[in-house]
């Protein structure tokens, strides 16, 4: 008997069939589990996108103040750059309006300074600041799902 034949005999004793069957089943099971876990995170959501385009950087020269009513957001541009501030009052969700000294909530009188920090009224937190990115086509995209620290300003070309 050659050594090869002995090897085969050894393998068959350890039950080649049993090993491969259980091994394959384990791999298949893990792959199925992995596939199922993949479903937990959906590709798309049936809700309005939190990102919205606001146009090219050149549309926001220094000193610009723009109100995006349907997105509840203010866009400002000053010498330090561009920034987006939420217009949703942190108290009960009313829409604040822009005043000479900052923001004023019409519902319960919360007041915010131009940076969005609370200076009066029942509001518990400052207004949120949103992340601004530049899209591949050059237009600016505000993401209202991503908040950044107050004072974060962006410079785009």
């Amino acid at each position: 008997m050659s050594s090869e034949a002995i090897g085969k005999k050894d393998l068959s004793r350890r039950d080649l069939l049993g090993l491969t069957a259980i091994g394959t089943a384990t791999i298949a099971g893990l792959a199925t589990l992995g596939g199922s876990l993949r479903l937990v995170k959906p590709n798309v959501h049936f809700e309005e996108s939190t990102q919205f385009k606001i146009g090219k950087p050149e549309n926001f020269p220094e000193g610009t103040v723009r109100v995006f009513d349907d997105k509840n957001c203010f866009i400002f541009s000053d010498s330090d750059g561009l920034y987006a501030v939420s217009s949703i009052c942190t108290h009960l969700g009313c829409i604040v309006s822009l005043t000479e000294w900052g923001f004023q909530c019409p519902c319960h009188g919360s007041k915010y300074n131009p940076e969005g920090h609370v200076i009066g009224g029942p509001a518990p937190r400052s207004l949120e600041w949103f992340e601004i990115n530049q899209d591949v086509d050059g237009s600016l995209v505000v993401d209202s799902a991503k908040t950044v620290a107050a004072g974060t300003k962006y410079i785009f070309t």
Partner: protein
């Protein structure tokens, strides 16, 4: 050996399961949109103008994109492939990366409108065949061919704006629809004839509404309508539709047809500022409701589709013997047994004042004086004599007892219009003076020699056809 059998079964089923998982993974990895997005990304990186742009391009995430517009209830994934639709750098790129044509996208941003609200197709599909939904994909509203796309503009915009801002095709289509007399047979908003189907919401009808058997090419509603305009009987063999199209008229009308939609856009999307009411004078109304069959109305024509003669209604001989009251009676009651339907308000939705305008327009080419009155009521009539005369002189064309003669040369005299709508005076005048432009000759004094008394007898006999025996 049992364990051996079960172990083999486990091995085989595990292998089959792995094969399916492998196929799933492969499909996920090589999906159409993923390939396109990778290509788009590479294109952006390659053509970046500066480092910042290249960095942005490299950061582009590859993933399924969905644009959800709550107020329109639309979720469109078109941008998973048409990813450059808002990117001005893509103006010269090939599909699917091309920038949207024109300046539409500036006033109709994708995140507010989506895609399928204008273009239709299956917004949630993730490959081209299912998304465009043409042919045999069983999607009811496939993508609109570009040549009919202006039908979508009319969902929100008024015709004045469409005309001025570059959607003149649908405006022309609407005008053709009015002037080709489509509503002579088709009701729209409750007004029109009833030989054809009502056209309300026709643009939103699902695929199953159409019999696609004879449609050439993709089996879509667009092709059905277009080919049906070009040749109705090629698509519906039994169709009685009378259309005569020149050049691009069928495309224009198809565009208009698909602007007649069931669904209404939310008011904040609609842009109706200058609603122009189309003219409602006699001529416009005549065109809208009569012209499809009667044409100019100057001559009688034998129509192969209807298999009968469509009478001239604006030629002087007819207008000479028929006074406005008679014409109005015919229009209001229709002519039983023919394609001429009743235009009473209850039947056609047309107002009586509109019928008056049409009658006035038809009668406007009356040049002759009214003929000398016959004064039928002054005669003592003899029905037996009338019957003998009728059988001798009239029955060859009009048939025994008025049932219609050989090859329908003469009209059927038993029909309700002759029996109930037309007064004996009109019948007597027609027999005495004949009807120019038709085979009906003049039987009066100088013609074929019937005396007035004879004619009165014949009229009296003809009038008995309508009585129940």
């Amino acid at each position: 050996m049992h364990s051996r059998f079960y172990l083999s079964l486990l091995l085989i089923s595990s292998l089959v399961l792995m094969m399916f998982i492998g196929m799933g993974v492969y499909r996920e990895m090589t999906s159409e949109w993923k390939t396109y997005q990778t290509e788009y990304k590479n294109m952006l990186v390659r053509n970046a103008e500066d480092d910042a742009a290249r960095k942005r391009a490299e950061k582009l995430e590859i993933g399924l994109r969905q644009n959800y517009v709550a107020s329109l209830n639309k979720s469109d994934r078109c941008m998973s492939c048409h990813i450059g639709v808002e990117n001005p750098y893509m103006a010269k790129a090939d599909q699917p990366f091309t920038l949207h044509s024109g300046d539409y996208i500036e006033n109709h941003p994708v995140d507010k409108f989506g895609c399928t609200i204008c273009h239709y197709g299956q917004g949630r599909a993730t490959n081209k065949k299912e998304a465009h939904g043409k042919g045999h994909t069983h999607w009811d509203y496939p993508i609109i061919p570009t040549k009919y796309i202006q039908s979508a503009c009319a969902k929100c915009h008024d015709y004045k704006m469409l005309q001025e801002e570059g959607a003149e095709l649908v405006v022309k289509g609407e005008k053709l629809f009015r002037e080709k007399g489509c509503r002579g047979c088709h009701k729209l908003n409750g007004v029109g004839g009833d030989l054809g189907k009502a056209l309300d919401g026709i643009g939103s009808k699902p695929r199953a509404y159409y019999a696609m058997k004879h449609v050439v090419g993709e089996h879509t509603a667009y092709n059905w309508i277009k080919q049906h305009f070009d040749d109705p009987r090629a698509i519906v063999p039994t169709s009685e539709m009378r259309v005569f199209m020149e050049e691009d008229e069928s495309d224009l009308l198809t565009t208009y047809i698909f602007s007649i939609r069931e669904e209404e856009m939310p008011s904040k999307y609609r842009f109706l500022k200058n609603i122009v009411t189309p003219p409602r004078d006699g001529e416009s109304l005549y065109k809208m409701f009569c012209v499809a069959c009667h044409g100019s109305g100057k001559i009688s024509v034998y129509d192969e589709i209807f298999d009968r003669t469509i009478p001239a209604i604006t030629n002087p001989p007819f207008l000479r013997s028929a006074d406005n009251k008679t014409i109005k009676n015919i229009v209001m009651e229709g002519r039983g047994g023919t394609q001429m339907t009743s235009w009473k308000t209850t039947a056609s939705g047309l107002k009586e004042e509109d019928v008056d305008k049409i009658v006035e327009y038809v009668a406007s080419s009356r040049t002759y004086e009214r003929p000398e009155p016959f004064n039928y009521l002054e005669f003592q009539t003899n029905i037996d004599s009338g019957m003998r005369l009728y059988n001798n002189r009239c029955s060859y064309c009009h048939g025994k007892e008025g049932k219609g003669g050989n090859r329908q040369l003469g009209i059927n005299l038993k029909n309700s219009t002759v029996q109930q709508v037309l007064d004996p005076e009109f019948l007597a005048l027609t027999i005495r003076d004949g009807r120019e432009g038709t085979p009906m000759p003049s039987f009066g004094g100088d013609g074929l020699g019937l005396s007035d008394q004879n004619i009165a007898d014949v009229v009296a006999y003809v009038k008995t056809f309508g009585k129940k025996k």
